[in-house]
Symmetry: C3
Subunit: 135 residues, 3 copies
């Protein structure tokens, strides 16, 4: 399974991570390619920054959200990313995004990222994947 994580919306990051970790748990291989706003989330401190605005629209406060996620046994994004990597998942940072947005490797969560890559890296992986998504 390969997923391009283009969006930085919290709800979409959750979807991506839950799908990808689920795939690993079922014995599949999985790669996440972080580009644009998705990659911005992998900057140091990027996961904590408010991004639940759309969730709030539904009338759910940040605190309420956290409580419900806990009750539903949904780990934090931080935890999901760490689990994903520990289970053997690959996290690739898009180097073109880094250049355009002026992001340096040391600005990113190097503990989470497996490697940098370009479109060729993605396509090689996607060609061999049964499931490819753009989130």
């Amino acid at each position: 399974m390969s997923i391009i994580v283009h969006s930085g919306d919290m709800d979409k990051l959750y979807s991506a991570l839950i799908l990808a970790t689920g795939a690993l748990a079922m014995g599949m291989e999985a790669s996440l390619f972080f580009t644009f706003w998705g990659l911005v989330r992998l900057k140091k401190g990027g996961l904590e920054r408010g991004g639940l605005s759309r969730m709030n629209m539904l009338g759910l406060g940040r605190w309420m959200m956290r409580r419900r996620m806990k009750r539903a046994n949904v780990a934090s994004l931080e935890r999901l990313l760490k689990d994903f990597k520990e289970l053997g998942g690959k996290i690739i940072a898009c180097d073109m995004t880094m250049e355009i947005m002026g992001i340096k490797m040391e600005d990113l969560r190097e503990d989470l990222i497996t490697d940098c890559g370009a479109v060729g890296t993605y396509l090689e992986e996607a060609k061999q994947s049964r499931i490819n998504l753009f989130i």
Copy 2:
């Protein structure tokens, strides 16, 4: 074909339903997995609630939109969902979304939903699909 319907935007719901119903019409099998804002649309009354704001940005009023869709022979979302189910398509509600957002089965359009499911249900279906999309 499998589609994760994450968005609740009317234009994206249309895309998902037109693609999925088209697949059935061509003799393919198709499953729709409703999560997050997509699932919110399957709450009783959820399809009627205003969500054409982005369409309005284009300068098309709600009434104009309806008239044009009628002229282009595009059925309403309600009709498309019913047709999809009657033609044998599967509509799965994401049970994690239900737990997080506090949605109960009786809050949802039970007449449209085939089943509840988790990430494993989706992945099994997607592994056997030629076309997988995240909308």
Copy 3:
């Protein structure tokens, strides 16, 4: 590779074009299906219209963005679309979108578009593709 270009956001158009042109460069075949807001971008003058609002949110002005993209050797969307077509890529305009939005063929960039098509055209192409994305 097949990509449905539903979004008109500049950052997503870039992703779609960079992926699709990359696929051609690797010897794959690639088709882009422009629907809804994606198709609106293919109207005459549609690529120039401001759509970098979300990019500006990041604190990058339009001018800064252009300079950085140039430095990173990223061509303009105009250039990417032309290159894609010249390298043999197919650009299909969704005829249902045209009917709903009242777009006529002469309103569109006919120099870029290979053909018009409906959901059946897309599905035939997608069934034969190793990678299918919805952007």
